[in-house]
């Protein structure tokens, strides 16, 4: 549990602070940033306070002052803020402020279903109430304390009883009250410590109330795992394709060097092939590095068969004649299968274009009750005998099919190149 939570920043299990650290609290900038956050809570509570102060006189008659305040406080400082705290915007504001002012590294909540869950809203509401109540208490103390301190300090010189600012208790005037002066002067310091303690408490509970829930953390981890796997796959493909191109370049260059004097025609051909292979390798390099660099692409939702129409259209606009045919309903295909199937179609189309050139490609998709079947064929083109790339495009497809426990067959079939994939729609029991 702690392993996951660390990422959300819950680990504040520090030992008890020593005296030196305690003394340093009021001079630390972070202390004041946190107190500022607390004060914001007080400021946010001000409207509720105003509303409450209107409500109290109306209720005083029936409930007495204490009862009236208890009831209105429960309503205005707890019930109403709970409703407010449920709002997504309030949550976002609180998370932003807590990150900056409380120095709590809160991970982004990533909801598995897109919307913010009710559990998360409830936690935010609890946070909002805690922020408001603690902030209000500290703010009120900060408001009433200065005049009271001044009053106590002046009391030794006064002749009658001295009232403590707006507060009810009084201090008798005269030198007999002198002993109260040092206490009064300590009170602001005590308030700073109180505020620091309250804000430290907030910082401590922030990850639990504002951080991502276990479900959201899981969603984040899953997305990262998918992204990482995708990047690994791209890296492997790049390794394969560039390695392949460079192997051709090396072998052809070596051969051309050997036969340069005896077979000029071969050497000339070899140079052309070297050029083409090197260019293909560079193109693949460019393509994959572009994908890796492009954060938008990494964050865009992974396409599924639902996006097939667009894929077919873009392939057509690249000058390849694709006829696509679908039997059955795509809604019956689970997301995981649909995503992989899309990639398989995409890679098959790329392979067809790469190996056969601009030949018509036909694609058949059949959604059965147990399987998704996918067949892609294109005529074998005699004018394109060079199949640069060999089995490597196919390797990617095989890997995807294997991961879903499906079957794949590929090869020449009655004058056409045919790749057939069969994916189970439901995992085997």
């Amino acid at each position: 549990m702690r392993g996951i939570r660390t990422a959300a920043g819950v680990c504040h299990d520090r030992p008890m602070p020593g005296l030196r650290e305690l003394l340093a609290i009021p001079v630390r900038r972070s202390t004041w940033r946190r107190i500022a956050y607390l004060m914001i809570g007080g400021a946010l509570a001000a409207p509720y306070l105003v509303l409450a102060s209107f409500a109290v006189p109306a209720l005083e008659g029936g409930l007495g002052v204490a009862g009236a305040w208890a009831l209105t406080s429960a309503f205005y400082f707890v019930a109403l803020p709970i409703v407010t705290g449920m709002l997504t915007t309030v949550r976002e504001l609180e998370v932003g402020a807590a990150r900056r002012l409380l120095d709590v590294p809160l991970a982004d909540a990533e909801s598995p279903r897109g919307a913010v869950s009710w559990a998360t809203r409830r936690r935010s509401a609890a946070w909002f109430v805690a922020h408001l109540v603690l902030g209000l208490v500290i703010c009120l103390l900060a408001l009433v304390m200065p005049p009271a301190v001044v009053a106590v300090c002046l009391a030794p010189f006064a002749t009658g009883d001295v009232q403590l600012g707006q507060l009810d208790p009084t201090v008798p005037g005269g030198p007999g009250s002198a002993w109260l002066v040092p206490l009064a002067l300590l009170a602001p310091v005590a308030l700073v410590y109180l505020a620091a303690g309250a804000s430290a408490l907030l910082a401590r509970i922030a990850p639990r109330l504002l951080g991502p829930s276990p479900a959201e953390q899981l969603a984040t981890l899953q997305r990262q795992a998918v992204q990482l796997a995708e990047r690994n796959r791209l890296a492997r493909e790049l390794h394969d394709s560039v390695g392949h191109a460079l192997s051709i370049v090396t072998v052809q260059a070596g051969a051309a060097g050997r036969v340069l004097d005896s077979d000029l025609a071969f050497a000339r051909r070899a140079l052309t092939d070297i050029e083409t292979s090197a260019r293909n390798g560079l193109r693949d390099l460019d393509h994959v590095l572009g994908l890796l660099r492009d954060d938008q692409a990494a964050r865009a939702p992974t396409p599924t068969l639902a996006d097939l129409q667009r894929l077919v259209a873009s392939t057509r606009s690249a000058g390849i004649d694709v006829s696509a045919e679908l039997t059955g309903c795509l809604d019956d295909v689970p997301q995981a299968v649909s995503r992989e199937a899309y990639r398989i179609v995409q890679e098959s189309l790329t392979n067809a274009a790469r190996h056969a050139g601009h030949v018509p490609v036909s694609l058949h998709l059949t959604v059965g009750s147990e399987h998704l079947e996918l067949e892609l064929t294109n005529p074998l083109d005699a004018s394109h005998p060079q199949r640069s790339g060999g089995g490597r495009g196919l390797n990617g497809i095989r890997e995807r099919v294997m991961s879903l426990r499906g079957e794949v067959s590929a090869g020449p079939d009655a004058g056409r190149w045919r790749i057939a994939v069969r994916l189970p729609l439901h995992p085997a029991p």
Binding site: D240, H244, V251, Q252, A255, V259, D263, G411
Partner: protein, 219 residues
């Protein structure tokens, strides 16, 4: 002696390049090319090549499976030289365990290619001993089987010669080191191969590494 070679690779440009390099040698001839492992056994039966240059990754039947089938179905099969793009390809060791006699990188220089073919056909010394040792080290079993090669019943002399074979020494070099005649070494080597049920030095050395008889590297 003229050596016949069969080229198996799904990439036509690799095949044409290797063919040019091999055919430029007076003593080497490419008898045929195949673009998939499935074609290997019938071609070998028909053309009786001395060496098969075999790509590992091929679309239908890969080099590992093709090597396995070849050795299982053909009497007195040719030596298999596995071609690979990457040294750290896990399939290479699988191909060696399947019975290939050696492996070669596709980026090898033309003179290394022809040297490898001749060396393999002669069967007289191990191809790239250091690379094989590294492969064996990477694929060493988590637990070395107890007893190592005890069951094979090698004599001390044969064990000594097996270690020298693993270092890549040829029969002549072993003879010089042990101060015996090359004929004696040849006899010992033959005994080692028989006792280990190995068809060539590579297979014997791989068994020696795999059984823990020789520690591939200090790990």
């Amino acid at each position: 002696m003229n050596l016949g070679v069969l080229l198996v690779d799904d990439e036509p440009l690799i095949r044409s390049g290797l063919r040019a390099i091999i055919d430029a040698e007076p003593d080497l001839t490419v008898l045929a090319e195949a673009e998939d492992g499935a074609a290997v056994t019938p071609l070998v039966r028909r053309l009786r090549p001395d060496v098969v240059l075999m790509d590992v990754r091929m679309p239908v039947v890969d080099g590992i499976e093709a090597t396995r089938r070849l050795l299982a179905n053909v009497d007195d099969p040719p030596r298999v030289l596995v071609l690979t793009t990457f040294e750290n390809d896990d399939y290479v060791f699988d191909a060696l365990r399947a019975g290939a006699s050696g492996f070669m990188l596709k980026r090898a220089r033309p003179d290394e290619v022809v040297r490898a073919i001749r060396l393999l056909a002669a069967g007289d010394s191990l191809l790239f001993p250091a690379a094989i040792r590294e492969l064996a080290a990477r694929h060493a079993p988590a637990r070395v089987p107890a007893g190592g090669l005890d069951s094979a019943g090698l004599t001390d002399r044969e064990a000594q010669i097996l270690r020298l074979m693993a270092q890549g020494l040829s029969n002549a070099e072993i003879a010089a080191q042990l101060v015996v005649s090359p004929e004696t070494v040849k006899t010992h080597v033959a005994h080692v191969l028989t006792k280990l049920d190995a068809r060539d030095r590579t297979q014997a050395v791989i068994r020696a590494y795999h059984s823990g008889f020789i520690a591939p590297l200090d790990r």
